[in-house]
């Protein structure tokens, strides 16, 4: 029997979503685990996998259409099976239940199983605004069919050729003259390179040849193809739009301090030997959480008119993946002990890297920490995650000649930089906040207390 495919539930906060791309067409064979389609919410882009083997019989929701979650979007079954012409009404509202993380998002209708979601997601938060692309209207160029065929065979762009026919129409004579004057006739091109250029509509005159006697080779054309504009992944597009809006709308200012990590690193080693392993990140995050509680202004957001102080510290964790950047949110982090925090950080990190973070786990953060400590950088400034009051950029810990009690000593110095939203906080608050973090990291007694 044909199986309905549902738009997956995407967690507690997402009520509708758009299908941005179908990976299968009607009639295609589908195997369990195949990616059926990509969904875009205002928070993320996700891939939906099939639960069934069979053939895609019907698609109800086309690319670009937005429907409520749990709507029937397609049917999968055996070839020739009858399926309804219209989708059944979606069974909403959906009961609130924990979002399925790994597999089975079982809908109430037992037969209708929503595809497994493979989250490959993005930065959290608000404005979904994406401006419509401006389509350039090309000026019409008149060209004779024979002349056009010739330009196609030669892999050149006819729009740059001056036509001498009626109405400036380009005729074969013009193309031949252009081939001579432009140096095309002196061009040496390998046969395979020419085929490749024709296939990708690369103008051979723009390709720099690196073969013997500057012959244009396949890798030269490949270089030109790589330089052609191409669509970024949906994920990168979302990152682009969110970061642009943040950097455009939020007046950033930056404050950097050097943190002496020497004593904490020694203590961390002692803890490790005692069987309590913590990552350096854990201490940085805990210091940030404690400081955010002291400076609620830093744990806030504004639309330019109103300011909202958040009642809990939902710490955002920036995680770099091959496909892009993700911010995982640790909710109510002020209630976690250091060891609980450490465990949660490890768990969301692992989830993010295996693409299993749910949209819920990527939304609602109130302040983000981004750590490039392992990437050998001296310091850097980060862009605020939209909807938050600031972001803390953590650089590498580097042995540095430092003045201690009037003498030069080598200390483990880590620079941290706060990017703050100047609409909400001023320099004094920013400076006090970042020094609060620094003081905590340098206070080994505090860590002895928190780890005892």
């Amino acid at each position: 029997m044909a199986q309905p495919v549902l738009l997956p539930k995407l967690g507690q906060t997402v009520e509708e979503a758009a299908i941005v791309k179908w990976h299968k067409s009607v009639g295609d064979a589908v195997k369990q685990g195949d990616i059926l389609f990509e969904i875009e919410t205002d928070k993320a882009v996700l891939e939906a996998e099939s639960f069934f083997d069979g053939f895609l019989l019907k698609i109800f929701v086309g690319e670009g259409e937005t429907v409520p979650v749990s709507s029937v979007v397609a049917y999968i079954g055996e070839k020739g099976e009858k399926v309804p012409d219209a989708p059944p009404a979606p069974k909403v509202p959906v009961k609130v239940e924990p979002a399925p993380v790994k597999a089975a998002a079982v809908a109430e209708d037992k037969k209708a199983i929503a595809p497994v979601i493979k989250a490959a997601p993005v930065v959290s938060v608000s404005s979904p605004a994406q401006s419509a692309p401006v389509v350039a209207v090309a000026e019409r160029v008149f060209i004779s069919p024979r002349a056009k065929a010739l330009t196609k065979a030669k892999c050149i762009d006819f729009k740059v050729i001056a036509g001498t026919g009626p109405n400036g129409r380009i005729v074969v004579k013009d193309v031949e003259a252009y081939l001579e004057s432009s140096g095309y006739n002196q061009l040496r091109v390998s046969p395979a390179a020419k085929r490749l250029a024709a296939k990708h509509k690369v103008n051979l005159l723009t390709v720099r040849g690196t073969g013997v006697s500057e012959r244009v080779m396949v890798h030269d054309v490949e270089r030109s193809i790589a330089a052609l504009p191409k669509k970024m992944s949906k994920m990168r597009q979302i990152i682009a739009s969110r970061l642009t809006s943040s950097f455009r709308d939020i007046p950033h200012f930056y404050v950097t301090v050097s943190v002496d990590m020497t004593d904490l690193l020694i203590y961390r080693q002692e803890l490790k030997e005692a069987g309590k392993a913590y990552k350096v990140t854990d201490f940085i995050l805990e210091s940030t959480i404690l400081s955010l509680e002291e400076f609620p202004a830093m744990n806030s957001s504004t639309d330019g008119v109103n300011v909202s102080w958040n009642e809990s510290v939902n710490l955002g964790l920036a995680i770099g993946l091959d496909s892009g950047l993700v911010v995982a949110a640790i909710r109510n982090s002020q209630e976690l002990t250091l060891s609980e925090l450490s465990a949660q950080v490890a768990s969301v990190g692992a989830k993010a890297r295996s693409g299993k973070l749910m949209p819920d786990e990527m939304t609602g953060s109130t302040f983000t920490v981004t750590n490039m400590g392992m990437l050998n950088v001296e310091d850097f400034g980060a862009i605020i995650n939209p909807g938050e009051g600031g972001i803390l950029a953590v650089a590498s810990t580097i042995p540095t000649a430092t003045v201690v009690d009037g003498k030069i000593a080598v200390r483990q110095i880590m620079k941290v930089t706060l990017s703050a939203d100047h609409r909400i906080v001023d320099g004094t608050t920013g400076a006090a906040f970042i020094n609060a973090i620094k003081n905590k990291l340098e206070d080994v007694e505090l860590w002895k207390h928190l780890t005892s």
Partner: protein, 470 residues
Amino acid sequence: METFDVVVIGSGPGGYPAAIRAAQLGASVAVIEKDQAGGTCLNCGCIPTKTLIASGDLFHRIAKSEELGISVGSAEYDYKAFADRKDKVVGTLRKGVEGLLKANGVTLLRGVGSFVSRNVIAVDGADGKQEIGASKTIIATGSDSVMPGFIPKSKLIVESRAFLELTKLPKSLLILGGGVIGCEFACLAAQLGVKVSIVEMLDDVLPMLDKDVRRQVRKYMEKELDIDIITGAPLEKITTTAKAVKGKVDGKAVQAEMMLVSIGRRPVTDGLAIENAGVTLNEHGFIPADADCSTSAATVYAVGDVIAGSTQLAHAATAQGCTAAENAVAGKAKKAAILIPGCIFTAPEVGVVGMSEAEAKEAGRDVAVGKFAFASLGKAMAMGETVGFVKWIADADTDQILGAAAVGPHATELIAEATLAVNAELTVSEIGKTVHSHPTLSEAWMEAAHVLHGSCVHAMPSRRKLKIKD
């Protein structure tokens, strides 16, 4: 202390062309050679084996010539005469190399070269030790057979070099390692009536070849040359008696009068004191070198078998040697050629170039393959040599020839056309449109091109309707 613009260490197929090219460009050049000019290739590799194989192959064909209407009674051979002819050929070529070096004004220094510092090299020869200065150095010290410690020392256990010095063949031969060297020697010995067994630890012999190519060679070796090929198991418990080498494979006993060990080659850097030049060898003892043959030390270049990732082929070393010399003299950073054809002188012969079918698929290409069997080719039938085929491996999208393989008569010669085609980035249709003379073996390339496009006149029709591509 005498100082040279370029000092080349080693005079094999990487070293002597490097020296001559540097001299052609006006540099003062010295070559250091610890053994014989010409290196492994000329003295104990390519040339002597191919000389013996030429004799062995002709004997094999004579012995089987009855189907061509020739009866020779019982053909016989004199292996001592084979060996003498081989020495003569090697001697002539060696004199040729020495003559070329001399004619180009290259100083040939006999002895072991070692770095004193980056620009000073000591030569330890029969007439004592001397030091020379070198503005640039090209290391071309090559490789040597690996003889692992678990194999007992015995005159019945040889590697390729010692095998080539034999003047009498054993009645039976056990070969450890089914790579190129092992298979070539196996075919040579088997064609001369030696009972040969090959033990290869991997799942098949000649694993670098596509499965269909490999199968042709293995089938012929097993069926026609009666070679026992045991794969997928190591040779264990090797012992020697006065007249036999014994071992066990998978619990079964194997035995032969002699054993040839051909399980790989190791880079030769003994005595080179390369650390004095500031070059660090990699974990396997090879010299890491860039595409332009430069090493981590600014004035030191390396070419051929001694560099990491080498194909261990003489012609690759020669191409690198010439490029290294040009870069060393002109201060440029040209890259050495990377398209290196491979030839295997087994029975039947194999020639390959570019990507194999498996490699092309692995690279995610949409692969189209066109194969044409010699059994369908007039000239091959006329010659009575119908084993094997040629095949094109092409990109289905752009028709670009990505690689080619030939297995069968004169495959090592036939691969030259394919090499040119891959190097020039030709499309399959251009090969198809190039008229090949009839009746020749080369026609197979044209036919295979037509097969790839489904337009072959001399193959059974395919169900798809023909679409002529331009």
